[in-house]
Amino acid sequence: MKYDVIVAGGGLLGAAVARELARYNISIAVFEKNIEVGCEVTKGTHAIVHVGLSYNPKTPLKNRSELLGSLMMEQLCKDLDVKYKKIGKLGVAFNDDQVKVFEKMVTNGKRFGVSDIQMIYDKGILFEMEPNLSRDVIAAMYTPNTAIVSPWGLVYGLLENAQANGVEVFTECEVQAIAWDKEANCFNVETPKGTFKAKYFVNAAGAYCDKVSQMIGDNSINMKLVRQQKVIVDNNYRNIIKHVVRTLNAKNAMGDFVTPTVYGDLMAGVQLELTSSVDNVETTYEGIEEHVIQSMKKFVPCIPPAAIIRPFAGVIAQTVDGEFVVRPSHENPHFIQCMVGGSGLGAAFPVACYLTQDIMPQIMPDMTLRSDFNPLRKDMPHIHDMEEEDVAELLGKDPRYGHIICRCETVSEGEIIEAIHRGARTVDGVKFRTRAGMGRCQGGFCGPRVISILARELNIPHEKVTKKGGESIMVNLSQKICNDRGEA
């Protein structure tokens, strides 16, 4: 099979690149290593769209992309029917030194185009905005345009829209080797699903950018992986905090935070550690109990630790120097490096636009815009978010939407089936698309039912249903039982 462009990586960046490339008269395929898209770096982000307060002169692409991302995200989410809320951010100061740091950010922000950034010194105003904020806060920096978004919702939206415009998405399709065929003027891309040919190759492999780059002999990507430990708080506490609330870390950069999510629960963090693999998503006692919970208490003392429904960790990939890399490889100009990090959630879309509008035309001069590109996508129904009259109408058409499978988040059988039709292949895939299993009982009730629906809809036996692909089998393990109890 031959494509004009193969995009390696079904995370947010790969999805954005594929969707933007779909505006042109070219053939495109996205290769995702995992069984589900958006399930590595994307899943672990803070889900915050920053307004763009990076002014490091060494990272101009990152600075500009963040700023643009903040301006572009709202319309993108409207087009793709993705959850987005502009809730604003309060950078809170506990002492005078921190106030000075925030004041400098405000000065810089105004200079570089974040016009509505301001300091709030009036505690009356501050505690009216956030009544449950610790009274130890003495002032705050306020950015009204900071937004929250569903990171995986964006990936599903971008890829579904890309597919509707002709892009092909292959999951469980890890790029294993890449070779340039001089005669044919194309790459041969080896995957478990066979060898594919591509005239151009976009490396948006996230945590594997360096590894994929090395396949063509390009060792110029120097990355680090950072594990972020966080917690999710029961949505009973949904109105406790209304803004992204964030404080400074020891280096006077943005650090710990408590934020609402677009789904109505709260997220708090964050313990950061360097790690060696994107699979190192374990949480630690030190990270959760001694750091995240203590920091949450410092911000918002009224949230008890017992309100936490899930600790988790995500791994973020970024370049060592912090700058984004969006350029053709020095080894082969048909191979385009595409790597964001740190604040990549908001910045991914402007980076994808930069790649398609500024870089691709230079190396692919025959690109022409197509006239029939449809930028709009409609999300699947989520009855939890719908008006009662609309739910009643939907039930009339399909009673499966009245059959509630996940009680905590009110997710129906109809939604789970639709999620599977849209690409969910695993328990986690259903969970992230529908929220079944994300609530306070964490899948205790819906778990067995989701397994059965997946088996039925995918026409596979129950023992082939996995949590997240690979060996993550849910039931009926095939190995024999040893007789010993395995005690140490």
């Binding site: 917690v231 009973n236 699979d279 998503v281 374990e282 949480t283 630690t284 006692y285 959760i288 109990e289 630790p305 936490i308 429904i309 899930r310 988790f312 009662e388 009259e389 739910v391 009643a392 109408e393 039930l395 009339g396 009673p399 009245g402 059959h403 509630i404 905590c408 009110t410 129906s412 306070r440 009982c441 964490q442 899948g443 205790g444 009730f445 778990g447 067995p448 397994i451 059965s452 129950h462 996995t466 949590k467 997240k468 692909g469 690979g470 060996e471 993550s472 089998i473 849910m474 039931v475 009926n476 393990l477 190995q479 039982i481 040893c482 007789n483 109890r485 395995g486 005690e487 140490a488």
Partner: protein, 419 residues
């Protein structure tokens, strides 16, 4: 819209488990004409259809039954009494004026009831809420989920099992998994004593030689795809890990049996105030909540040790809800009831109406020998032992309380610490 169906009922009961069924029968017997029992699952009985072990019915039916048989007998009685059911019907909202909105098959129901009885039961504490360090691979189930997988769906959740928590479902699942050929490597309990009933400790753990580690917890869960390793550690009085006591198990499955939480999301929507000690509504001796006309019974109020008692207490609540629906209710007393020394919780939380007797349910905080329960200065009752796993029930005539109007009664328990 045509798909919204309006209903008028005398009494709406939310939840068709042992509590809701007991309540519905009792309400019909009390003479309520129009009782609607609303259940979100396809079948009635709540968790009982998956409880295929025996031990049910000794109090309610005076014979030992399995969960499914208990349900069957309840259903027969409910049918005889003329209860209306609406299954596969999920209540999504209750308003304080007793309006109930529910999804039911291809319709949205809007139910107006004269009185509402909350019988939503409880749910299991999840793995996430325990904040156990490590990874989050496949193979982590609550004991009840594992029970559903095995007994209803016919699937084996895993083969090498560690169980965290020694609640009754955990112990019953230790036996059940063993009977189905799985290897239960350990039952791990944070407290220095077993959390569930003595009979289950004997019949499920000891009789099957299942290694039990009290005063231990799980320090780490490991595995990328499926669980590969579980490390446990002993803990001190303050629940801190004791270094050097770690034991590793090459398990593929972790079952959680670490407590039940009354399920009160709907109650909160209706404006019902909750008791932080029970997780259930604050109720008076009629089992009425702070919202007039909304009553609560069974495990939604506090977690009972036996299904029989959940049925029975909900039946008591139903009699009062029935009276309210018939318009024969008024407040004539004001006595607060508080949990004192060694009492984890007590219900009811107040006495507001003259009735023949007052029924108290309570649990102690720690196992005690030669225990004496003091109901204020009014009454004392002695027990050879009192355990947190077994609720204490005391029935007293209302006459004892009359002179205490506008006062507070503190209930305490004294005895020798058994652990």
């Amino acid at each position: 819209m045509t798909n919204i169906l309006k209903h008028e009922v005398d009494l709406a009961i939310i939840g068709g488990g042992p509590a809701g069924l007991g309540a519905a029968i009792s309400a019909k017997e009390a003479g309520v004409k129009n009782v609607l029992l609303i259940e979100r699952s396809e079948e009635l009985g709540g968790v009982l259809p998956q409880c295929i072990h025996n031990g049910f019915g000794l109090h309610f039916f005076k014979e030992e039954l399995t969960g499914p048989t208990y349900t069957y007998k309840m259903l027969k009685n409910a049918e005889k009494a003329g209860v209306d059911f609406s299954t596969r019907t999920m209540v999504i909202r209750i308003d304080p004026n007793n309006t109930i909105i529910a999804l039911s098959h291809n319709k949205l129901l809007e139910i107006h009831s004269k009185a509402t009885l909350l019988c939503m039961g409880c749910r299991e504490r999840s793995f996430g809420a325990l904040r156990i360090p490590g990874t989050r691979p496949a193979g982590i189930y609550t004991a009840g989920t594992a029970q559903r997988l095995m007994n209803i769906e016919g699937m084996l959740p895993g083969k090498r099992i560690v169980i965290l928590g020694s609640g009754d479902i955990g112990m019953i699942m230790a036996r059940r998994m063993t009977l189905e050929g799985a290897m239960v490597l350990a039952v791990v309990e944070l407290m220095p004593f077993i959390g569930g009933l003595i009979r289950n400790e004997i019949q499920c753990l000891r009789d099957f030689n299942i290694p039990t580690h009290v005063g231990h917890t799980i320090k780490e869960v490991n595995g990328t795809d499926r669980i590969e390793k579980i490390i446990i550690t002993a803990v001190d009085k303050n629940r801190h890990y004791i270094p050097g006591t770690e034991v590793e198990f090459d398990a593929d499955t972790l079952l959680i049996s670490a407590g039940l939480i009354p399920e009160n999301e709907l109650s909160k929507m209706a404006g019902v105030q909750l008791n932080p000690l029970t997780g259930g509504p604050i109720v008076d001796n009629l089992w009425q909540t702070n919202v007039p006309g909304i009553f609560a019974g069974g495990n939604v109020v506090h977690v009972h040790d036996l299904a029989d008692y959940a049925s029975e207490s909900a039946a008591l609540a139903a009699v009062n809800a029935a009276a309210y629906a018939k318009g024969t209710s008024s407040q004539d007393l004001d006595i607060k009831v508080k949990a004192g020394k060694n009492i984890r919780y007590i219900v009811p939380n107040s006495i507001t109406k003259k009735q023949e007797k007052v029924t108290f349910f309570m649990r102690v905080t720690w196992p005690l020998n030669n225990a004496t329960v003091h109901i204020g200065d009014l009454y004392k009752k002695e027990f050879i032992f009192a355990r947190p796993s077994e609720q204490i029930r005391i029935d007293l005539p209302i006459g004892m309380f009359m002179k205490l109007n506008h006062e507070e009664i503190v209930v305490s328990c004294y005895g020798e610490e058994a652990v």
